[in-house]
């Protein structure tokens, strides 16, 4: 296997609120390898964005990392100073968010965004930087004459492409993409996914792709991690995960996703709804909704284990 880019171990993140402590990420361990797309899926509120933001150490208050390690390039990010972390964010870890306007400067032309990035991190001369920027933009499918537009003159899909372009210009070691296509219409989403796949393969990008859209993950991810109520419940390469999901939650989730290309006209129904993270159920957090829950599941929390080679899950069904 490839080199490890990121190693998260036993990460815990809390949001202390008036109503109680929200345990948004609870004892999550995860490794990201160079050149892979790791899909992180799960339903709204399960902790995906919290995990992504923690890697950047950009948790929204009152979010706090209360345990664990995040090793990137041999160092524990949780031990870096704010200044070191800031440099890392600008140079080696890039982000693509649902709303790209949060990252683009409204007063700067698109070309300036590229030039600034290229010149800060590549130290080219002005003409060389300009040539590179034009090349990149062209690769993104944006016409060169649009380079001098401001971000608000770009459509949502074009802004997302700019974000990926900037990550390329940066030559980032890791890209965290949080719901990058969620606000896009399907055709624009498909255009973006096609572009992202091409670029990922050409430049061997390492991407953590956070999304609630199982279809998007199926299109891009090499491996998939499934979260439920702050916990990682399953992790595997994409094919085994979709073909033979182990955790009952993953099974339920996959069979309740509408699939336009299949002929059956009914979806599987999962009972109940995701729990409250202030008082999660004891034992396995999924047990109140699990069709296969046993006595043990109600009291004892299952460990996250490698059940088959490269296929991990946290479920008592697989306890030998």
């Amino acid at each position: 296997m490839n080199e490890r880019v990121l190693e998260i171990s036993n990460l815990r993140i809390d949001y202390p609120t008036r109503a109680g402590i929200v345990r948004a990420v609870d004892d999550v361990s995860l490794t990201v390898y160079s050149g892979e797309v790791l899909g992180l899926v799960g339903e709204s509120g399960c902790g995906k964005s919290t995990l992504g933001m923690a890697i950047l150490r950009l948790l929204r208050p009152p979010g706090k990392i209360v345990g664990g390690k995040i090793i990137f390039d041999g160092q524990n990010l949780l031990e870096l100073s704010e200044e070191e972390m800031r440099r890392l964010r600008g140079a080696r870890i890039s982000t693509v968010f649902q709303d790209p306007m949060t990252c683009l400067n409204p007063l700067q032309r698109i070309s300036d965004h590229f030039l600034e990035t290229i010149r800060t991190h590549g130290s080219q001369d002005k003409h060389e930087a300009r040539r590179l920027a034009a090349q990149l933009i062209d690769r993104l499918g944006i016409r060169a004459e649009r380079l001098d537009d401001y971000p608000h003159q770009f459509s949502g899909g074009m802004r997302q492409r700019v974000m990926i372009g900037l990550a390329l210009a940066l030559n980032a070691d890791l890209i965290i993409a949080d719901e990058p296509t969620t606000s896009l219409d399907v055709i624009v989403e498909a255009q973006f996914l096609d572009l992202l796949r091409d670029l990922q393969q050409q430049f061997k990008l390492t991407i953590i792709l956070i999304t609630h859209n199982i279809g998007v993950v199926a299109e891009l991810a090499d491996r998939v991690a499934v979260m439920y109520a702050g916990k990682l419940v399953e992790l595997a390469e994409a094919l085994p995960l979709f073909d033979t999901p182990l955790h009952p939650y993953t099974r339920g989730l996959l069979s309740s996703v509408p699939n336009i290309s299949l002929t059956e006209d009914r979806l599987q129904i999962m009972s109940g709804s995701p729990p409250d993270l202030i008082n999660p159920p004891p034992g396995c957090r999924f047990h109140p909704r699990c069709p296969r829950a046993m006595e043990r599941c109600r009291v004892e929390e299952p460990l996250f284990k490698e059940v088959e080679l490269g296929h991990w899950t946290a479920c008592w069904l697989y306890e030998k």
């Binding site: 339903e43 709204s44 459509s155 899909g157 219409d185 399907v186 055709i187 624009v188 989403e189 498909a190 255009q191 996914l193 096609d194 609630h212 859209n213 199982i214 279809g215 998007v216 993950v217 199926a218 299109e219 991810a221 994409a238 094919l239 979709f242 339920g252 989730l253 996959l254 309740s256 996703v257 509408p258 699939n259 336009i260 290309s261 006209d265 009914r266 979806l267 599987q268 129904i269 999962m270 009972s271 709804s273 995701p274």
Partner: protein, 331 residues
């Protein structure tokens, strides 16, 4: 007179919104500009069916729904509901007619009064339309709550919207829409905000209630995969026009319009073996203020020809119950 097969008949419906301009802009450009949100559409919604209205953001789906409910005055065109031309009704007559058509919105929290208890919110229109009050209202609300699975009903009756889960809120909104036993439900992206695992449940519930209460749905969605599980017929909108319409199975299996074909091909498939092969149309939806001449899709259409840039294609029936607006000999 025998009852028509159609509950709703829409003819030549248009809604143009004037573009808001600053005082100076108005001095400079004399001409008023309009957003062509809905620009001449004909739809029949049959009794007891789920009629889907799909298309990308800004194509005019919500506006069409609001026009049918008369929450919006049409710029032009007619809406006939159960044989009655809505334009001919007085305010009071329209008020009574409105009992027969209800709406479910995408965001249940935004559409519920935060200070009203769930039960009272569900029963509110009973009071407004003077149908029931006090114990009678409570009884009918509790019964409806049971029907939509908002249980234990007597406990949830006294909760406020923020105390309910997302799925429960959406059920409350459904119960509120059903309490007057309407004929038509306009459901505008009703499950878009729900958790993935709860969506299937809500779809199933909507289908069950349709049976129980003899409902007809106008189901508005941007998600063609979801539409597949609930719609009988579907219309695809693009920039205020309908480009294709027919039985869902016909439209999905033999899409005739290049835009429908692209929309269907673009939907991400939850299967890692699947690879999209169709090329996507260039660019994005143009501005609805000055829609393209001729066929509105022509600037992005891979098959556009001279004629498409000049003449707007009519929606014509090319097979039984399958309509398309395209100049190509699509058969």
């Amino acid at each position: 007179m025998p009852e028509s097969e159609n509950l709703v008949e829409v003819r030549g419906l248009k809604k143009w919104f004037p573009v808001q301009k600053s005082f100076i802009e108005r001095l400079v450009t004399r001409q008023r500009q309009f957003v062509h949100a809905v620009d001449g559409i004909d739809i029949d919604i049959r009794r007891g069916e789920v009629f889907g209205l799909a298309g990308e953001s800004g194509s005019g789906k919500t506006t069409t729904g609001r026009l049918i409910l008369r929450l919006e005055e049409p710029t032009d065109g007619n809406i006939v509901f159960d044989g009655v031309n809505l334009a001919s009704l007085s305010k009071e007559e329209m008020r009574r007619m409105r009992k027969r058509m209800q709406v479910i919105f995408q965001d249940p929290l935004a559409s519920m009064n935060p200070r009203m208890k769930t039960g009272d919110a569900i029963g509110h229109s009973l009071v407004i339309f003077d149908e029931a009050r006090g114990e009678e209202k409570r009884r009918r609300v509790l019964e409806m709550m049971e029907r939509v699975g908002l249980t234990p009903a007597h406990v949830l009756y006294n909760k406020y919207p923020h105390q309910l889960s997302g799925g429960q809120r959406q059920r409350a909104v459904i119960a509120r829409a059903l309490i007057l036993h309407p004929d038509l439900i306009v459901a505008d992206e009703p499950i878009a905000m729900a958790d993935v695992s709860v969506r299937a449940l809500l779809l199933d519930l909507m289908l069950q209630l349709k049976q129980d209460f003899n409902l007809t749905y106008l189901f508005i969605t941007h998600d063609l995969a979801t539409a597949k599980y609930i719609c009988d017929r579907i219309a695809i909108m693009y920039l205020g026009r309908i480009v294709e319409m027919g039985r869902l199975t016909d439209v999905y299996r033999h899409a005739l319009h290049p835009y429908t074909q692209a929309l269907l091909a673009a939907v991400p498939v939850p299967d890692p073996r699947f690879r999209r092969t169709a090329a996507m149309p260039r660019g994005e939806i143009p501005n609805p203020i000055n829609p393209p001449t001729g066929c509105r899709f022509h600037p992005r259409c891979p098959a556009a020809q001279e004629e498409c840039t000049k003449v707007e294609p009519e929606l014509r029936e090319v097979q039984k119950d399958h309509f398309v607006a395209c100049h190509h000999d699509t058969m």
